[in-house]
């Protein structure tokens, strides 16, 4: 209990630090969004003071002391008020993020978890049946598949299964004719669209989990408590799962936390390739269009997701490893 509380405290503290940094960074940078816009216009000729005033009025210029701005900012963050997007004017940043986030979380997040579970199981099997085909096949296959660059696998799948065979749609998260709701037809449509991006992520990340789990599992299989469990005549399955795998998974949880934290921020490439309307695609759009409010909100979301993922893994550790509870 004390362990959980201390982890919650740590989470709140880092959250506050992240939010504050997110507030400070744009203000520490030279110039302002308005300056950037004016500089762009100035390339085509002099900018009149009235144009400047109009742009500043549109973007908003901070008023009040830094402290007041900070409090205002905190208040806005608590109410999910991140202002208005430049690119998708007049839509609010919050609504844009709210639309994009579920797509990313469901697609990338779900596939990351599935890849971890599946890869870990295969790794356990490979180590337990070391030297047999159950070992060779996943190990060699995993190494081979994860050696491909992410986008290249994606392009291969798109080309062969999308264009050539025409089995799967090549872009988007759902058919252009469908309207997002929770009907069975729409969900099936979304699932159909997610198969190619999901497969890409699975192919490229599975190998890492297999290899990681296999090597830690081989180490724990050599540990004395495994030998002792065998000497005591425990059932081989009990030895493999409760004694060896249960301990071997612990170091891999850290990598799992990193992978989970990277879900929101790391989805850019796959969503760009598949035109998938998630956070990564939104971030790409924001950066290309210099949409500062959108960017700032997305950075905050990415930071928070990393913090939350680490928090979850910390709690998992507390449950799985009695040594961390003390």
């Amino acid at each position: 209990m004390r362990y959980t509380l201390s982890k919650v405290g740590l989470l709140l503290l880092t959250l506050w630090a992240a939010v504050t940094l997110n507030f400070l960074l744009p203000r520490l940078m030279p110039g302002s969004p308005a300056d950037a816009a004016i500089a762009k216009l100035a390339q085509n000729g002099p900018v009149s003071p009235s144009t400047r005033a109009a742009i500043e009025a549109q973007l908003g210029v901070p008023t009040g002391s830094a402290w007041d701005q900070y409090l205002q900012y905190l208040n806005n963050v608590v109410h999910f008020d991140f202002g208005v997007s430049y690119t998708f004017f007049p839509q609010s940043v919050a609504s844009l993020v709210a639309t994009a986030l579920p797509w990313t979380l469901v697609l990338v997040g779900f596939v990351t978890i599935v890849a971890f579970i599946f890869g870990t199981l295969l790794g356990v099997l490979a180590a337990w049946k070391r030297g047999s085909w159950l070992d060779t096949l996943p190990t060699v296959g995993g190494t081979f598949a994860s050696a491909f660059p992410y986008f290249w696998t994606a392009l291969l799948l798109l080309f062969f299964l999308g264009y050539v065979a025409g089995w799967f749609p090549t872009s988007g998260a759902y058919s252009s004719s469908a309207t997002p709701d929770f009907s069975v037809a729409f969900l099936l449509d979304a699932l159909y669209h997610s198969i190619l991006p999901a497969t890409t992520i699975l192919i490229t990340s599975l190998g890492g989990w297999i290899l990681g789990m296999r090597s830690t599992m081989i180490n724990t299989l050599g540990d004395d408590y495994v030998t002792f469990a065998e000497a005591n005549g425990l059932h081989p399955r009990t030895v493999a799962i409760r004694y060896a795998a249960r301990n071997a998974i612990l170091p891999n949880l850290t990598s799992f936390g990193l992978a989970l934290g990277g879900v929101v921020g790391g989805s850019l490439l796959v969503e760009r390739v598949f035109n998938y309307p998630g956070v990564g695609y939104l971030l790409y759009t924001a950066v290309v269009n210099q949409d500062f409010p959108l960017m700032q909100a997305l950075f905050l979301i990415i930071t928070i997701s990393v913090l939350l993922a680490n928090f979850i893994v910390d709690i998992l550790y507390g449950i799985l490893d009695p040594r961390t509870r003390r």
Binding site: D223, D224, Y225, T227, F228, A229, E230, A231, N232, G233, L234, H235, P236, T238, R242, Y243, R246, N247, L250, L320, D321, P322, R323, R326
Partner: protein
């Protein structure tokens, strides 16, 4: 019919891509119900391999290649793993060497018991809690231990738990593989007592595997001595003690001694006269300043040290004998616990002593007594919480980073584990060249000459061959000699040896100890010898300090203290040493 009958057993190691190595060769013996048999040998003798084969635990690359192991008339050597598994209840159990690690760190002790009960189904769900409590009670642990995880238990408690777990199988044969080696001296004694009592009360057949012939002779009725895969001697303990037949057994026996005896010696290490009231080795080294550390200065008879190179080959250091004393005054070291609310640990409590130039002093105590912390404080690795440590004009307790190099030129460490102290990727020459370049002005050919000189000093000849070797090509004793040579590279005045022989086989110990001793005689270095082994302390030191929980409980001349211990803790340490025949071995 015998409970166990081993006939013509061969076990080979078949590593992939390498030639098979026989580990156990043509071993035959019988064990009767209720026997308590010792299996003794040095590392690599095949004793553990045999123990694993006896309990059906041989795993690749080890393989039983010939012969049979009849357990209650059934050959277990040819059984499949599934058949073996069923045999383990009411059959054979094993307690591993490192009982510390024999428990799953993420399962509670209770789960360990329940796993075994579930696997064999010999204890019903209703009775299993009571049975687990009964079993931990047998190894003198409270029932509350069942709620714990292995990380929360001490080494001795963990080993007791694994004994209880093995016992829960209701075995007829129990194999104990070095059950107390990883434990602290005093705990070793207590755990061994428990094993003995259990063997009497539960009446299982027991095989005690150990490198420690002294302990085995004390505990068991019958002893098998293994050497190089062969059982070279198999006789009653009393017979082995009275008239060992095989030269190897005689060699092993000769390395035992009672540190309390009036005269203590082992082959390669002559006795330090128990009555000699001095320990001025520097005088023997020649032109060094004569320093008296004892009360009187007698003429020393030169101590023969056959394992060390002849004195003529060792270049004596001209005027480089130890000149300065290490003075430790009222030193304490308190470690703050990482988490709040826990009491800080006082590792060293108000310790004062002086290591005179050229003297040899032992620092003894059980683990946790603070002896290694003192080594860290003297070498400037850690700072004392209070008190002062000086070496000549160096104030070690407040030493600056820049002065550390000067300190380390004069004060060098020899570490406990020669297997971990050498970088496996570098040759001996490279390992020895580094400190020479760091600490001296010798370069190029001169540095190489110095490397060869050091190797000669520590008795690794032919020196050219040894210089080119990698650590894994050396035996444990040879590695420890390299470690010692490395410590000598800076031409230090003081050597701090932290359990330098505890990882070595008995037969190698004397050689390394003799080397350390001879260095002191011929080079005039002072030595602080840290150990829990009172016999070796008696052999190589003149002064002794006994530490308990960070405080000095007794100090004086080694021979006096060990012959007439005053403090209860010293007495307990002495009593924990196995003594098959109190003092009887020493005279042989």
């Amino acid at each position: 019919m015998s409970l166990v009958s081993v006939q013509g057993l061969f076990v080979v190691y078949e590593p992939q891509g390498a030639l098979p190595v026989p580990a156990v060769r043509n071993v035959s013996f019988d064990l009767e119900q209720g026997d308590f048999v010792g299996l003794v040998g040095e590392s690599g003798s095949g004793k553990s391999t045999l123990g694993f084969a006896l309990t059906g635990l041989s795993k690749p690359p080890a393989r039983v290649s010939a012969g049979s192991i009849l357990f209650d008339g059934v050959d277990i050597a040819g059984m499949t793993p599934a058949q073996l598994r069923v045999q383990r209840h009411g059959g054979f159990a094993m307690v591993l060497q490192s009982g510390m690690n024999a428990l799953n760190p993420v399962r509670s002790i209770r789960d360990h018991f329940f796993d075994i009960f579930t696997a064999h189904g010999h204890v019903s769900k209703r009775d299993r809690e009571a049975r687990a409590i009964e079993l931990v009670g047998k190894v003198e642990l409270p029932a509350s231990v069942l709620d714990r995880f292995s990380g929360e238990l001490s080494g001795g408690m963990r080993q007791r738990v694994s004994i209880a777990l093995a016992l829960s199988l209701e075995p007829r044969l129990m194999v104990f593989d070095e059950p107390t080696t990883a434990l602290d001296v005093l705990v070793q004694h207590a755990v061994m007592d428990t094993i003995r009592e259990l063997q009497k009360s539960e009446k299982f057949t027991a095989v005690l595997i150990s490198h420690d012939l002294g302990m085995v002779l004390e505990v068991t009725e019958r002893v098998m001595v293994m050497h190089d895969g062969l059982v070279v001697e198999d006789a009653l303990a009393a017979e082995i003690l009275a008239a060992p037949q095989h030269p190897y057994t005689r060699m092993l026996l000769s390395h035992y001694g009672d540190p309390r005896a009036a005269v203590v010696e082992v082959p390669g290490l002559a006795a330090r006269g128990g009555d000699r009231a001095t320990d001025v080795a520097v005088a023997a080294a020649g032109n060094a300043p004569v320093t008296v550390t004892g009360d009187t200065l007698d003429t020393l008879e030169p101590v023969a040290a056959p394992a060390a190179p002849p004195a003529s080959t060792v270049r004596r250091r001209e005027g480089r004998a130890a000149r300065e004393a290490i003075v430790v005054t009222n030193v304490s070291k308190i470690y703050q616990r990482p988490s709040r609310g826990e009491e800080p640990v006082c590792a060293v409590n108000n310790v004062s002593f002086t290591l005179e130039p050229g003297a040899s002093m032992a620092l003894v105590g059980a683990s946790g007594s603070g002896k290694s912390t003192i080594a860290k404080l003297i070498t400037g690795v850690e700072r004392p919480t209070s008190g002062s440590i000086t070496f000549g004009d160096l104030q070690i307790d407040t030493i600056k980073r820049r002065q550390l190099k000067r300190l380390h030129t004069e004060v060098q460490m020899v570490f406990q584990d020669p297997y971990a102290a050498l970088n496996p990727l570098h040759t001996v020459e490279y390992i020895l060249t580094r400190p020479i370049l760091n600490f001296s002005r010798l370069r190029g050919r001169d540095a190489r000459a110095r490397v060869l000189e050091l190797l000669e000093t520590v008795g690794l000849t032919p020196v050219e061959q040894f210089a080119a070797r990698l650590p894994h090509q050396l035996s444990g004793g040879q590695r420890q000699r390299v470690v010692i040579a490395r410590a000598l590279a800076s031409d230090p005045q003081v050597i701090i040896a932290d359990e330098p022989v505890s990882m070595l086989d008995v037969s190698l110990r004397a050689g390394v100890l003799a080397l350390l001793d001879s260095l002191r005689e011929t080079w005039g270095v002072s030595m602080l010898y840290i150990t829990h082994d009172l016999l070796s302390a008696r052999l190589v030191t003149d002064q002794i300090m006994v530490l308990n929980s960070g405080a000095v409980v007794e100090e004086g001349r080694t021979a006096d203290v060990l012959q007439n211990p005053q403090d209860e803790y010293t007495i307990r340490l002495l009593e924990a040493i196995p003594h098959p025949t109190v003092g009887g071995l020493v005279q042989s």
